[in-house]
């Protein structure tokens, strides 16, 4: 019987473990370069810290909390 295992990340993600330090650095830098393509779309966003989006916050278009499983929008009071 096949034993199923919960999967959080893909096998490609986890394959970082098999890379040499030099291969990891190279892949990492290459990934960062490729990721620049989204700079315009995420220019106002934050991925860390206590801020979510650059001001202005009253422009009517700010979505502060968007769940990946649904669109739950809330605004600061």
């Amino acid at each position: 019987m096949i034993q199923m295992r919960d999967q959080f990340l893909s096998e490609e993600d986890l394959d970082l473990k098999s890379l040499s330090p030099e291969e990891l650095e190279s892949l990492w830098t290459e990934w960062l370069i490729q990721a620049q393509i989204t700079n315009d779309s995420d220019s106002r966003d934050y991925s860390h810290g206590v801020f979510i989006r650059e001001p202005p916050w009253d422009d009517g278009s700010t979505i502060l909390f968007k769940s990946e499983t649904g669109n739950q929008k809330s605004r600061i009071p």
């Binding site: 970082l16 990492w28 960062l32 934050y46 991925s47 860390h48 810290g49 001001p55």
Partner: protein, 266 residues
């Protein structure tokens, strides 16, 4: 070398001041590359602030909206954000001295445990899990994999996102699951079977996400007066070297951005 490792080494030149956290720490754990920005926990003293600002100045960085890189704000859980263009990249550098969900005691331990000779330290798995309990779904997938790699069974029980893994851990060490249930109530659902446990894990994730949303909402609300004047200040800072921009920012933030946020950190 990755720009984020380069920066970490520069930040730690001569003294340990910065621990790589966030998505770039996930890379160092060899789990996934999924973040464009750099996140560091800084040692909370004036010398660290000055040194990090000098490194950023040398890289041509400018402030984004946020708190100044100043311990009066950072000590209350605020975050500081700067960015620069270099090596073909938009490099964003995000800083805290008091990351969410790590106690003052744990933070002291963090700095004590780091090897002062290691110029590129990164946050360990257990602490990274706490910081990853955000309002983003994808962070819980990272927590799930981090938990699998933990050597300590208590840590696995406290951090696992997998019902199957928890059922197995409970079979191996029921005594530890019982002992830890007071700290992690979802473990009580193990006795009800895998489906009930999955429901409980989903509910736990939702609670954590909403708790982080509530935390961010407090800081965003406190930052509203600062947000209203930001564009004007940003324009003033535009042509300034970072040191001068930082002085201006500290001066102006002093009247618009409160040092403390009731209910904020931790």
């Amino acid at each position: 070398m990755s720009i984020y490792l380069q920066l970490t080494r520069q930040f730690n030149h001569g003294r340990l001041r910065a621990i790589l956290s966030g998505g770039q720490a996930v890379v160092m754990h060899r789990l996934a590359i999924m973040s464009k920005d750099g996140d560091w926990i800084l040692r909370e003293d004036e010398e660290s602030m000055r040194h990090v600002l000098a490194v950023l100045d040398a890289n041509g960085a400018h402030y984004r909206f946020g708190a100044p890189l100043d311990i009066r704000w950072l000590s209350a859980g605020w975050s500081a954000h700067l960015e620069f263009m270099g090596h073909g990249l938009r490099v964003r550098t995000d800083f805290v001295t008091r990351p969410p969900r790590l106690s003052a005691e744990r933070l002291d331990g963090l700095w004590r445990e780091q090897d002062a000779k290691n110029q590129a330290p990164f946050l360990g798995a257990r602490d990274l899990v706490e910081t990853k309990k955000t309002n983003r779904e994808k962070d819980y997938a990272v927590i799930g994999e981090l938990a699998r790699g933990m050597g300590d069974i208590d840590d696995q029980i406290m951090c696992s996102r997998s019902a199957r893994d928890l059922m197995e851990l409970a079979a191996q060490r029921p005594d530890r699951v019982i002992a830890l249930t007071c700290q992690r109530p979802v473990l009580a659902a193990i006795a009800e079977g895998p489906e009930a446990l999955e429901v409980a894990l989903d509910a736990e994730r939702r609670r954590l996400m909403h708790a982080n949303e509530a935390r961010l909402a407090m800081y965003m609300s406190a930052a509203e007066p600062w947000a209203r004047v930001w564009h004007e200040i940003s324009r003033e800072m535009e042509a300034m070297p970072l040191a001068a921009a930082h002085s201006l920012m500290v001066d102006r933030a002093g009247t618009k951005l409160p040092f403390t946020v009731p209910g904020g950190w931790p």
